[in-house]
Symmetry: C2
DNA sequence: CTAATAGTGTCTATTAGACAGTATGTT
DNA sequence: AACATACTGTCTAATAGACACTATTAG
């Protein structure tokens, strides 16, 4: 369609036919991460923490009975961001949650129904905010990643049910500046959501080092021990106390509250220091 | 649509109506960056380098006569990646160029014609590969970013024409973990491509520090001086020679060629060392 | 010889890693 | 008292920043 015949932008827009190009569907999918604590049987020990992700059991075809990320179609009169917030509200009944865009997955056959593009997001919440607000078909799964010889195995454990899949990182260019994940083995997660989970995990692992995302995962007031556990569970490795405290020192401020009753020296409660450095 | 009436996934898919949700259009837009050199009048001085971006003059409405990023609609039977490569080939006549996904822009009114989602990409090329292969309506613009009091001003200069716009970084959350750009002033760049350019600039500025993307911008064999200029022009600051050489030492290997005829000590030519460290 | 960049040695400052020690609650 | 974590001091290793110096070419 040459448009040189039109006299103005207005005239052009008036005559424009939006159906001249084939159109497709867009969904938004959300990796909702939080850190959960399991009480230990030793009253003195700290509770063990796990990174966990919210999954939804599919009640319809396709992939009926499989687990997938919460998500939904982006309406024609709705920005991607608004759709994402709408779905977050639906699944967790919470608003004002931290969300960032992760990646747009656009392979032709990623949805067996038809051509669907999916823009994936990462959301982080403090699980204490969430009581019984979960959608009925949603469940938290502990995320246990393990490096294996041919890639990365991720085990998801809800307590009742254990899922697992295996992915591999594929480097796209000779300078190793870009990569994507590829499924090696996946029988439990619907669509390409195994790849989304792997990408999201990597994103927060990187971003926790150079931003303050960790503080989205703790309550308003927290002990430095809890905070350190958040870092440890996301990074998948232990940190040395003095080094950790040096680094976060400037990001937090002490309150005059203490956490007592834990069977050992009480720890000071801190809060996130806005506008630090 | 409840699908419990279907007996199997196959039966469901057979009966599925892809038009039950409103569909939209998806485009891919590409920020093609390269580093160009302007010969200086002093035969001894190194040529001055500029980061440059390829823009296309719009020949049709909307935004007729304005400049924008090369891009186009993603076909219904085409992955986002394939569409991006197709457009790169069309605009530069080159294949096997480095491309990575940048961000998906999904505001409702970003295209006056209709609802269009755009997945933006960053491509990096060595401009020496490009002779007269450019599409007739495409032109390289030097990118000159400048921090101003209320944001970031970016001047684009093709030699014949100077464009400029101003954007601001908006932090989305109190922990400053996520942000997006917002237009302050833009009369020269079509759509929201001013925001795409600002985001892309930031992406390569970050990524040049922790990946090897810089090597996509130089020829097969290069001097360390050239390579350092690439880093300097992307980072927008000067680097100290010894520090720079320490850092890239492990990423490069010396060839037995030298670059002579420059009015000063010849410099050794290096190449990228694959599989380093 | 001179201007200009190529390339190296070394000193210093900053940051990260490691370990050992002291402090203080609960049972 | 004993356990478990809270919290701190300090030494060491590694990395980044700065500067001064030597090397080598075309003109």
């Amino acid at each position: 369609m040459k448009t040189t015949q039109y006299e103005s932008e207005e005239a052009f827009l008036k005559a424009y036919d939006p159906n001249q190009f084939e159109r497709l569907s867009l969904t938004t999918d959300i990796l909702i991460f939080s850190v959960s604590s399991e009480k230990t049987n030793n009253y003195r020990k700290l509770s063990e923490k796990f990174l966990s992700v919210l999954l939804v059991k599919r009640e319809d075809y396709p992939y009926k009975g499989k687990w997938c990320l919460p998500g939904g179609f982006v309406g024609i009169d709705e920005s991607i961001e608004d759709a994402t917030k709408r779905i977050l509200k639906k699944e967790t009944n919470l608003e004002n949650i931290y969300v960032e865009q992760l990646y747009t997955f656009g392979e032709i056959d990623r949805d067996p129904r038809m051509r669907v593009i999916s823009t994936a997001h990462v959301a982080l919440i403090d699980k204490n905010l969430l009581k019984d607000n979960l959608a009925h078909n949603a469940k938290w799964f502990h995320v246990i990643p393990k490096e294996v010889s041919d890639g990365l195995e991720i085990v998801l454990d809800s307590g009742d049910e254990v899922l697992s899949f295996k992915v591999r990182k594929i480097v796209n260019d000779s300078m190793r500046s870009d990569y994507r994940y590829q499924t090696i083995e996946n029988t439990s997660i619907a669509f390409d959501h195994d790849l989304v989970i792997a990408s999201g995990l990597e994103r927060i692992k990187n971003k926790i080092e150079y931003t303050d995302i960790a503080f989205h995962l703790v309550p308003e007031e927290f002990t430095l021990g809890e905070l350190q556990q958040i870092y440890e569970v996301v990074l998948g490795k232990e940190l040395l106390d003095p080094a950790f405290r040096r680094i976060i020192k400037e990001k937090v401020e002490k309150t005059n509250h203490f956490q007592t009753g834990e069977g050992h020296r009480p720890s000071a409660l801190f809060r996130y220091k806005k506008n630090h450095q």
